[in-house]
């Protein structure tokens, strides 16, 4: 069975997906907490909020997350990318050890397998059997 091993750059992309999403969310949350409550009666306040430094940083991190996520999906399976990048949950709350242990185990399980479904090899195997 042939395995698609990831290159160093691809591992870095997956790490960026895992890190940028929770950091971006945290920056947005911190920025929104520093602002006074925004009412739907004044939607323009939301546009002004975009220029708050923490919220701008959060948006930049989330754009970086989405670009890296799309790049990862272009060379790896969805069922590989989602559990692997779930390591980001560990970044936000590192004190709940039961959850961390299970997520880490899940990441380890999937990361040791192939990153892409090998359709051609599977088809060749079926043809050679028949």
């Amino acid at each position: 069975m042939s395995y698609h091993k990831l290159k160093l750059g691809q591992v870095a992309i997956l790490a960026l997906v895992a890190i940028c999403a929770p950091l971006g969310d945290s920056c947005l949350a911190r920025g929104m907490r520093e602002l006074p409550a925004i009412s739907l009666d004044h939607p323009l306040a939301l546009i002004a909020a975009v220029f708050h430094p923490w919220i701008a940083a959060g948006i930049a991190l989330l754009i970086c997350f989405f670009a890296c996520y799309l790049t990862a999906l272009s060379w790896a399976d969805l069922t590989y990318v989602l559990p692997t990048t779930a390591f980001g949950y560990v970044v936000i709350a590192s004190y709940r050890w039961a959850g961390i242990l299970l997520i880490t185990l899940g990441v380890g399980f999937v990361a040791r397998g192939p990153s892409l479904t090998e359709k051609e090899i599977a088809e060749v195997a079926v043809e050679s059997k028949s």
């Binding site: 399976d77 779930a86 709940r96 040791r112 090998e118």
Partner: protein
């Protein structure tokens, strides 16, 4: 001795399950469509090497499947906001996030024809329970 029982607020449990299911379903459709779009486009690293960053961005922005995926992801976001408006945060957020991991694995096997073997099922289930424990 008083025991803390998780509550759904005043919402019917079936309605709560429906809201969480709506988030999981729209999110799964969005993820699968986005993944299918990126597979149809090809390796973005290769495209960027040949056509530069602008070429890679153009390849993504000219794929209709990508916009369908982003549309469903936006729908999932609003479905989550709606659920959070009616349910406790400690129930809605972890339940929908962890359920989405499992439905994604099922949808990826059915529609993307990914080889979801025992290793990936185990990973999805472990992460699913882990996310629930972490966020609950």
């Amino acid at each position: 001795m008083m025991l803390a029982v998780p509550t759904l607020g005043a919402v019917n449990p079936w309605l709560a399950a429906g809201m969480i299911a709506a988030v999981a379903i729209t999110s799964t459709i969005g993820e699968v469509l986005t993944a299918a779009a990126m597979k149809s486009i090809g390796d973005l690293d290769d495209i960027r090497a040949h056509s530069g960053l602008k070429g890679a961005i153009r390849a993504v922005l000219t794929c209709p499947l990508f916009f369908a995926g982003v549309g469903f992801l936006a729908l999932a976001f609003f479905a989550l906001l709606f659920a959070l408006n009616h349910l406790n945060l400690s129930l809605a957020a972890p339940a929908s996030a962890s359920l989405t991991l499992v439905t994604n694995a099922i949808a990826a096997k059915l529609f993307l024809k990914e080889n979801v073997d025992r290793r990936r099922w185990t990973a999805a289930l472990l992460v699913c329970v882990g996310v629930y424990l972490l966020a609950h």
